[in-house]
């Protein structure tokens, strides 16, 4: 059972003000999000829920700097994302955000360790000789160190998702964004993954997770519910 509480907007890590996102389509402009105002505090585990087409993934893409809002402002850790160029966004993404995808999206020609090293390689946050050691530490933390030198094709879905989480943590980002991370996992593996995300939050990380699974919602400290591109509820969840 979850109880909702209001959150203090002070010391916000993520602030969305008047965000709208419209896509052109053959049938006319399609509004994926409209007039979104949202604040997320450091150390929160936010679950974004809603029906298919409600704008969950669009919201996550905007937070990741993968997409740009049609209007409004996005401030993350004091950085105005909407004002950054593509090049600046890439650099920012590499340092500040870790993304976990539903289909894992590990690069098939790289081993698990190399997949984890890849963001370090792009962002150059770690000296090159320390990257593999750090990747192994992260894989160890997620319980897949034994799979470090295997290609993704040789790993189970759960193992691949753990590697994907390790990859998301590679550059010690302030925020982990997860898009339906359990959508492709069996219930046991999904539970284990949610536990890992919970541990990250307890360790001070901020997690924003898009999900439509009830079990996943139980791990969040706050649920943001979207419907037809609008926030219909944004309350802190209290687990009993």
């Amino acid at each position: 059972m979850t109880l909702m509480t209001h959150v203090n907007p002070a010391a916000a890590l993520i602030t969305l003000r008047g965000i709208s996102k419209t896509y052109p389509s053959p049938a006319g402009a399609f509004s994926a999000l409209s007039a979104i105002d949202l604040t997320i505090q450091r150390g929160e585990f936010v679950g974004v829920v809603g029906q298919s087409g409600s704008g969950k993934s669009t919201l996550l893409n905007l937070l990741a700097g993968i997409d740009r809002p049609s209007s409004g402002e996005i401030l993350i850790d004091g950085q105005a994302l909407h004002a950054l160029s593509e090049k600046q966004l890439s650099a920012w993404r590499g340092r500040a955000v870790g993304i976990v995808f539903q289909f894992f999206q590990l690069l098939p020609t790289l081993t698990a360790a190399e997949n984890v090293m890849l963001p370090m390689d792009f962002a150059r946050c770690w000296p090159s000789r320390e990257r593999r050691a750090r990747a192994l530490v992260l894989l160890e933390r997620l319980g897949v160190a034994a799979q470090a030198d295997k290609l993704p094709g040789a790993l189970s879905g759960g193992q691949q998702q753990r590697v994907a989480v390790a990859r998301a943590l590679a550059n010690e980002p302030a925020i982990v964004l997860a898009d339906e991370p359990t959508g492709n996992l069996d219930s046991r593996t999904a539970r284990a993954l949610l536990d890992i995300l919970g541990e990250l939050v307890r360790a001070g990380q901020t997690v924003v997770m898009v999900t439509h699974e009830h079990a996943a919602m139980h791990h969040a400290t706050r649920i943001v519910e979207l419907a037809d591109g609008r926030i219909v509820d944004s309350e802190a969840a209290v687990h009993v």
């Binding site: 890439s90 590499g94 993304i99 690069l107 090293m117």
Partner: protein, 788 residues
């Protein structure tokens, strides 16, 4: 050792190994062709620079009626002159193994001069001693002469003298003797006297001090020397100023190399199409991976560097294959070219810059070709890159399929036709590569036809089968009567021939050319005059000049008056027409010529035979030689017109042959491009093929779909190559005209060539698509459907 992104790149190369290999081989093939040409050209240039320019070639030659030591000292003292020497050059004939050959003899006072037209000893005695001769090395093989042998030299009407060949020399300023069929020999003035020739030296040759001086500047210096000589009471009869620093055959060679180089560049362009296709397809297949990498913080620049690095790697592989092969081909090719300039490439290396340039082009070509698709892929927004449209996403063909709704065409065939247009840019580049190869193939065939027609035209005047050059001039009636009785002879005509020069207004003589005297209404000679008219029976001092002579002496247009120096006598002539011959010569009425010489004499016989076969004509030649020898009119040399025609045609077709080879190389590259395109198409449509198989498509149907798609591209390439061959043919004919001689331009390929090319393109398409088609049938339906 490598960071993960570069490891990814290397593994991607391995993942796409068959297609990457195909592109590497195609780029390497193009590089081998163009690299071999560049290496050969660079090597020949190096040899030219170091051998020819290093020999201090003569800047100007002045022919003077008399030279003395004081005059030579005066000329050497001029500040504009770096070196000067005196010599005599004269023509003689030699009898070698029963064949009379033209000989150019050079007599010098000082054979050891190093600062002017340096002569090198190859073997034997140097300089030649009195009574001996040194032969230029390029004259040895064709003439059958050898060191230690002897040569029977015959000057004018003097009795022949046998000279021992005591040395072999090399004069890089001379065109190769084998090419001009001239024996070049070096003798002392005393040897000339032995032959009965004038022994006094009559040519002053100079090298100007300013090595950068152009032809006009050198000419001014030569005219200043002429004024100096004439102030001393002597007379300069001729001044010859060649193009400074350029070998006699260099312009032809450069034009040939330039034409070949243009085709080398075209081949590289076609190769770049393949690279564009491979990289574009690879990027399309990795769109999602690019999206993921961008979401992990990769900048567009970092991703672009990865894929351009992949292209660079392909270029490095292609260069590693192509460079040594191009070098191996270039050396014998350069040796052949150098031989045509009378140089040798032995001891010379291909310049390093040529190898560096090839390496640079080999590495940069794939990078440049990949740049546009890479930039396009890197600019794709992350959200778009991460989106998966499934098999319905690629609607490119629907537009086309709607338009190819030909009634009666089955749905699978319609699908194949539509598939060909699905990736329009890739299809366009593939068919352009094939079309470029086809256009060169058709262009080379057109040029072959044009050359044959031009040679036909060249020989169309000659209505005789055999030419016999007599050792001397004999009464025409006597020689005609002696030849007419020989079995196999149908008709005989005696003609006369001598050398003439144009005497210019300033008293200078132009270059010597051949004057041919024949009856204006001779049935054995049909005129082809381009301007003015042919000789008529009423003409007296009328002259028809050849196009080649008109090129040398542009004032010789119909209607012009000209003063000719013939056998030491100056006479007035008027030009009535221009005949399109490629040699510098002029035709005059035989009667006028006979009047000039006060006798009806002929030095050559034109013979028509009853039999047309070569062996029958050879028999007739043997009988004619015997009969004329018996009648006291020995034959100096003879030739069968059809053999000469074949020799000329073969010589000209060598260039066409090369273009044909380039066409084949480009067709092979085009075929590789089609194979790569179809292989990519099968890979991209694995899921779609799986769906087709799941709904009952058989192996044969899948295979036919791929083959038909390839055939559609091939046939379109054929269709595009036909109009493309029109400018190609025009360019080739123009280029050939500049290097060799003008040939007619064909604006449409022959039906036979177009049909051959169609059959060829069908075969190329079937071969290129065989492997992709087979692979398409081997993909299990389940794997195809689960393909990500």
């Amino acid at each position: 050792m490598f960071s993960p992104r570069w490891r990814k790149m290397l593994r991607d190369v391995w993942l796409h190994k068959s297609r990457s290999l195909l592109v590497v081989l195609a780029v390497a093939t193009g590089m081998i062709g163009s690299g071999a040409l560049l290496d050969a050209w660079a090597l020949v240039q190096r040899v030219t620079d170091e051998t020819y320019r290093g020999s201090h070639p003569v800047s100007a030659t002045l022919r003077v009626d008399a030279i003395d030591a004081a005059l030579l000292t005066q000329i050497r003292a001029l500040p504009t002159v770096a070196a000067a020497r005196v010599r005599r050059a004269l023509s003689a004939t030699a009898l070698v193994n029963g064949t009379e050959l033209n000989v150019e003899l050079f007599a010098l006072q000082d054979f050891g001069a190093r600062d002017i037209a340096r002569l090198e000893s190859e073997r034997g005695v140097w300089p030649p001693r009195d009574g001996e001769i040194s032969i230029e090395k390029s004259s040895l093989e064709f003439s059958g002469t050898r060191l230690g042998g002897s040569i029977d030299l015959h000057f004018d009407k003097q009795p022949p003298q046998t000279l021992p060949i005591s040395g072999i020399a090399h004069d890089v300023s001379l065109p190769p003797g084998w090419m001009d069929h001239v024996v070049y020999g070096f003798v002392t003035p005393a040897t000339l006297a032995m032959l009965g020739a004038p022994a006094s030296l009559n040519e002053i040759q100079i090298v100007v001090r300013d090595t950068t001086a152009d032809r006009d500047t050198v000419r001014q210096i030569a005219y200043a020397i002429k004024a100096l000589i004439e102030r001393g009471g002597k007379h300069v009869v001729n001044i010859d100023v060649p193009v400074p620093g350029q070998h006699a055959h260099a312009a032809q060679m450069n034009s040939l190399m330039l034409t070949q180089g243009a085709f080398g560049l075209l081949t590289l362009l076609v190769c770049s199409f393949l690279v564009v296709n491979l990289i574009a397809a690879m990027l399309a297949g990795q769109t999602r991976e690019i999206g993921v990498m961008k979401s992990l913080g990769a900048s567009a620049q970092q991703i672009a560097t990865m894929y351009l690095g992949f292209a660079l790697l392909l270029g490095l592989f292609a260069s590693a294959i192509a460079l040594p092969i191009a070098l191996a081909i270039a050396r014998p090719y350069a040796a052949l070219k150098a031989d045509m300039l009378n140089f040798s490439v032995a001891g010379f290396a291909v310049p390093w810059w040529a190898i560096a340039l090839q390496l640079g082009v080999g590495c940069l070509l794939p990078v440049l070709a990949a740049a546009i698709p890479v930039m396009r892929a890197c600019r794709l927004p992350v959200s778009a890159a991460l989106r998966d449209a499934g098999i319905c996403g690629d609607a490119g063909s629907a537009f086309v399929r709607r338009r190819i709704s030909i009634p009666g065409i089955s749905r699978p065939l319609l699908l194949s036709l539509g598939n060909a247009f699905r990736r329009r840019q890739r299809m366009l580049l593939t068919l352009l590569a094939l079309a470029a190869g086809g256009a060169v193939f058709l262009g080379a065939d057109d040029l072959r036809r044009s050359v044959r027609e031009a040679v036909d035209e060249l020989f169309s005047s000659e209505r005789y089968d055999i030419v016999l050059r007599l050792r001397d001039a004999y009464p025409a009636a006597r020689s005609e009567a002696a030849a007419a009785v020989v079995p196999g002879v149908q008709r005989v005509q005696a003609i006369a021939s001598t050398k003439a020069s144009i005497e210019h207004a300033d008293g200078m003589l132009g270059n010597a050319f051949r004057l041919v005297a024949l009856p204006p209404a001779s049935p054995m000679f049909v005129d082809r005059v381009q301007q003015g008219r042919w000789l008529s029976a009423a003409d007296r001092n009328a002259l028809v000049v050849s196009r080649a002579l008109l090129k040398d002496e542009p004032t010789l247009v119909p209607g012009a008056q000209v003063r000719l120096m013939i056998d030491g006598t100056a006479t007035e002539w008027h030009i009535v027409g221009v005949q399109p011959d490629i040699q510098a010569l002029a035709y005059v009425p035989l009667a006028t010529f006979n009047d000039l010489h006060a006798s009806a004499q002929g030095a050559a016989l034109l013979v028509t035979t009853q039999e047309r076969g070569s062996s029958a004509q050879l028999d007739v030649v043997a009988r004619l030689r015997s009969e004329l020898e018996h009648a006291g009119m020995p034959v100096a040399n003879s030739w069968i017109v059809s053999e000469s025609r074949r020799a000329v045609e073969d010589h000209l077709l060598m260039v066409v042959q090369f273009l044909g080879v380039m066409g084949w190389v480009m067709i092979v590259i085009g075929g590789m491009g089609l194979a790569s395109t179809m292989s990519l198409a099968v890979l991209e449509r694995t899921r779609e093929i799986g769906v087709l198989r799941a709904i009952g498509a058989r192996h044969r149907a899948i295979m036919a779909m791929v083959l038909i798609e390839g055939l559609v591209i091939g046939v379109m390439g054929w269709a595009v190559s036909i109009p493309l061959s029109i400018p190609m043919s025009a360019l080739l004919a123009d280029g050939f005209g500049r290097v060799m001689f003008s040939v007619p331009t064909h604006y449409l390929p022959s039906a036979a060539a177009a049909s051959t090319w169609l059959l060829l393109v069908v075969a190329v398409a079937l071969i290129a698509c065989a492997w992709p088609a087979l692979r398409a049938t081997r993909v299990p339906a389940a794997r195809a459907l689960s393909y990500e």
